[in-house]
Symmetry: C2
Subunit: 456 residues, 2 copies
């Protein structure tokens, strides 16, 4: 029983009142915008069967899944020989049949397949829940973190892409964060690989050029060479990825480059539609076609997007794209989807750095009644109730503690007003209201007190 120094698992975090208020502000803002666009919230269980999770995130992902030990006799069905072999990879699926959610996409795909009869397509869902990964913990990387996803499934329309970009634009406008939205299309990348004669190396190419921002052109080329891409193909790639210009100039140029690739031209056409439609509706933030954007993930099949904050250095804070066949792995082929994911932890850091939390988002108790003893408390309690009924977040200090202690409590909790009632106030049927910022004190009736605090 007596472990004296409690701790939490590495890579996990407690969120205290101030952090929670800020995180709630972030999630509530995103939820409000999702709802404005007709997305509906769902939640899935923290645990999924390993059958659902394994094989969906590659070998690395399988390893990083947290697995939950079976209840009861977890050795059942394992022979003595198997135990002695200590094959941890093999035995984990015998010891465990459940694991913790690794992302929100696979559980969503599983959800869609299980509930397909009751879902009205196109289905627009959002989901804000923690996920768990047994990654090596490091600065900014956690073993438990929230994802904040919206996806539309069951519609091929590019209007979905347009609306997701509008959502991104609206959310960051509400946050007061200037962002740059980058957009590309997997079909353009496929086309580029085709026209430079390296179709089979599409994955190597996208993985390499995706790093252009981070490692520079020379290292990208080195990586392409190491992947076995021919020198002339690398040479033909240079002007494409180096091309600067407006979105329309880029589209015109790349359309010319890709004129022999049907897929590539399809990607150009899709990008043109998305960008033109967005221009017509008007965005507050800049959207830029970036032909090197690939987001590493090879399951994207159409549009790809990524968002970066402009006023503080920080990696991608939002990303997404279109993927075909989300639910095929669960036996329901042919369902296309497109989605975005806001990076809550990074957005939290950006808003902290830029000091962008609205004052009332992190507001706590507004009014504290000082406790002078039983008699005074009995006098104050109905006033406390009245203030709360008027919507004022109100406390009465529960103990008859020293004045200094009670004032420290008010200061530490950033409480704007303190109410005091001693013999004089009680005799007059009033209270003294102290403004903690200015020090000003007023003798007020209950109604006047409520009015004053609510005006703040």
């Amino acid at each position: 029983m007596g472990n004296n120094k409690p701790s939490i698992p590495k890579g996990t975090r407690d969120f205290g009142p101030d952090e929670m208020a800020k995180r709630n502000y972030i999630f509530d803002t995103i939820k409000e915008v999702y709802a404005l666009y007709g997305f509906q919230q769902i939640e899935t269980p923290a645990m999924e069967t390993l059958r659902t999770l394994m094989g969906k995130y590659g070998e690395e992902g399988d390893r990083l899944l947290f697995k939950v030990l079976n209840s009861g006799d977890y050795f059942k069905g394992i022979t003595d020989e198997e135990l002695q072999e200590r094959n941890t990879l093999y035995l984990q699926t015998k010891l465990c049949e459940k694991g913790l959610r690794y992302d929100l996409t696979v559980p969503f795909a599983r959800y869609v397949v299980m509930h397909r009869e009751e879902l009205q397509m196109p289905f627009k869902r959002y989901q804000i829940q923690p996920v768990w990964r047994a990654d090596r913990p490091q600065k900014g990387r956690y073993r438990e973190f929230y994802q904040c996803d919206a996806d539309i499934v069951g519609s091929d329309s590019l209007l979905n892409e347009v609306e997701l970009m509008q959502i991104v634009d609206t959310v960051f406008q509400k946050f007061g964060v200037n962002v740059q939205i980058k957009i590309n299309n997997r079909k353009i990348l496929t086309g580029i690989a085709e026209v430079i004669g390296e179709s089979e190396k599409i994955i190597d190419i996208t993985v390499a050029i995706d790093k252009l921002d981070k490692i520079g052109i020379d290292n990208v080329n080195e990586e392409l060479r190491n992947a076995g891409i021919a020198e002339d193909a690398i040479a033909r790639l240079q002007p494409i990825i180096a091309f600067q210009g407006s979105n329309n100039e880029k589209l015109d140029t790349i359309a010319e480059v890709l004129k022999t690739s049907e897929t590539g031209l399809k990607g150009v056409e899709e990008s043109r539609f998305i960008l033109n439609t967005l221009q017509a509706v008007g965005l507050h933030n800049e959207i830029q076609l970036d032909l090197t954007l690939a987001r590493g993930l090879n399951y994207y099949t159409g549009a790809i997007f990524e968002v970066k904050a402009l006023d503080t250095p920080m990696g991608s804070i939002t990303g997404g794209g279109r993927y075909d066949n989300l639910t095929g792995i669960f036996g329901m082929p042919g369902l296309s989807g497109v989605g975005i994911s806001f990076g809550a932890d990074r957005i939290y850091d950006v808003l902290n750095t830029l000091d962008l939390y609205p004052k009332d988002a992190v507001a706590t108790t507004q009014l504290l009644f000082i406790n002078f003893g039983d008699k005074e408390t009995a006098y104050c309690m109905p006033l406390v109730a009245k203030a709360r009924a008027a919507g004022i977040r109100t406390e009465i200090y529960p103990d008859k503690a020293k004045m200094k202690k009670q004032m420290t409590y008010a200061n530490t909790k950033n409480i704007a007003y303190v109410a005091l009632a001693g013999d004089n106030e009680m005799a007059e049927g009033k209270v003294t209201l102290k403004n903690m910022a200015t020090g000003e004190q007023l003798l007020l009736t209950a109604d006047e007190l409520i009015e004053t605090v609510n005006k703040q």
Copy 2:
């Protein structure tokens, strides 16, 4: 890869859009009231170390904890002999060093100890998060469910008990659910055991009489007998637990019965203060002193409370009490606390049964623009943006699908208005707005449309 029929672990649930809207309404209402009373939200990780969790919930609890398999070589440090012995109880703490949160109280105690330097006492926190228990799943019992707790630590004042009862009263008033609040005091139970001469059997006595409502007096007495309580003690208990009357009558009678028990009288005095203060501030729901209420949990040391819905049969929907020494298990003794826990799943069922969800709590998209094709869509997109900017939850059907399909979508999602724009509307710079409930159609400008939908 190809598992064709995906499923979720038994005892867990998916929450679809409608359930989520209702659950959010419940959580948001409770959160709002908690904040009104100065409580602040915290969150703790889903996983805690087994050192934190084990030994806190009894042997049964240890067994019901979900344990998370260590990453990497989880057999490390286990000898071949130990493996062959297959002692699952012993080996689980070698295979696993983390487990899933079993309740919110132990993590809260751990949190308070870890963060004691930065916390301002008294600390009023609330926490709404899922917990996991490997219970046998059955109707109404889940392996993953949300708890919804508020606790004050670092204050012995009975005003905290008073405020928690006010919170309960306010929350259920907001829900529109009539409840009965039952209150008792552990010190009264201790006093009763003393005066009937069975102090050492206090746990058996409380466990037995706590079941009075469920199993009746004869079975309670049988259980007392089986626990070795003397016949004359049982006889002396009868009038006490059978006593009917007002709270004040009960307090006067039990004070007389307990006049030789210092602890018992302390319990009477505490209950009297709580009930009198609540009477002075005024509750909307009835509060009743119930001398048989014990809530099974032996860690309560003062007030005990429980809430039952009056208009539908359902077990306890909220409960709590005062416990001393919450943090003693983690090496920080002497910290008293008092808390309540709302049973979200049961409240959900009660609100469903009594059909008490407000219409706008489960509201979805308000306005759907029909998609007639690219030209019409281009015309509609700025109107869609305008409606959203006015705060209207708006969708445009993404695909140019058959009218019937789009109308079915509107109906299934309970969308109140549908907007249509064909050649005529475009020529006039207007849209046709159809009220889905009445069938009424109006030809409107964008501003008129916004006004009409917002008026709803």
